[in-house]
């Protein structure tokens, strides 16, 4: 038994239209699937040209979560404690940083030289953390 890829991951968002504005409109990701399944809107995005790795933008709520639990999730998310975290790579961290800064994205960490590359941190509109890095080849 050998696993060979992380193909889909999930983060919670408070509003899926607003999530599209941010992840597609500002970060430049592509919509992979946007389908109303009746019981939920299945909304996934991927970085351009990489449809094999999808991020599900899921809205917490009933019936999957009871209203009180959904409210707890929303409260934790907005205080940055929900744990949602994405790490994206780029060819040019400083340029990407300038682009996102100009678009008014919330910056949490300026570009920093690290042993593994140059990266910086941003926050999505809901409270999730995103890290964008220009990575050095692994030794």
């Amino acid at each position: 038994m050998t696993m060979n890829s992380i193909s889909r991951s999930q983060i919670y968002v408070l509003d899926q239209d607003e999530a599209l504005d941010f992840y597609v409109g500002k970060l430049g990701l592509e919509v992979n699937t946007d389908q109303d399944l009746g019981f939920m809107r299945w909304l996934t995005v991927n970085v351009p040209g990489d449809p094999e790795h999808e991020i599900l933008l899921e809205k917490p709520g009933p019936p999957a979560l009871d209203p009180a639990t959904a409210e707890q999730v929303r409260e934790l998310l907005t205080k940055g404690a929900m744990g949602g975290w994405l790490c994206l790579t780029t060819d040019d961290a400083r340029k990407t940083y300038e682009d996102l800064l100009a678009k008014g994205v919330d910056i949490t960490d300026e570009p920093t030289e690290r042993p593994y590359g140059i990266d910086f941190g941003i926050r999505d509109p809901f409270g999730n953390r995103i890290r964008i890095g220009q990575m050095y080849p692994r030794a």
């Binding site: 409210e71 929303r74 907005t78 205080k79 919330d106 910056i107 960490d109």
Partner: protein, 133 residues
């Protein structure tokens, strides 16, 4: 009700993010309250209710965490580290550092080895000294 809590949480998080990003600048409560779009008194009270500590304490400990990082990761003299993380005087820095960490900046530097290269948002979140444990 719930929307109001979410908006308030997100505004407090925006102010906290500003401290994490701009700790080296002379941040004060009026500036942070403006980022959160609330009055100063409301800001202090709400921040504390949201994150369990006052904004002043959060910022102080962010600065100490960044100092701990620079002490271990760089060869900068203690005085430079003090100003680089936003403290206004060496006296305040040394006293605050010792109060929170339990030893002087130079003793801390001698004792610590550099940690693995993990993203600094994690280092910053997990290495910031907290009274909660």
């Amino acid at each position: 009700m719930s929307r109001a809590v979410e908006e308030s949480n997100r505004a407090m998080l925006r102010a906290r993010d500003a401290m994490d990003r701009s700790y080296a600048e002379p941040l004060d409560v009026p500036a942070l309250a403006r980022i959160a779009h609330v009055s100063e008194a409301h800001f202090i009270r709400t921040f504390r209710a949201t994150f369990g500590e006052t904004p002043h304490r959060y910022l102080q400990r962010r600065r100490v965490e960044r100092a701990m990082y620079l002490l271990v990761q760089t060869d900068q003299p203690v005085t430079e580290v003090c100003y680089a993380v936003g403290f206004g005087s060496l006296g305040t820095f040394s006293r605050t550092f010792r109060e929170i960490v339990g030893e002087s900046p130079s003793d801390y530097r001698k004792r610590q080895a550099a940690a693995a290269g993990v993203p600094s948002c994690f280092t910053k979140a997990w290495m910031r000294p907290s009274s909660a444990g």
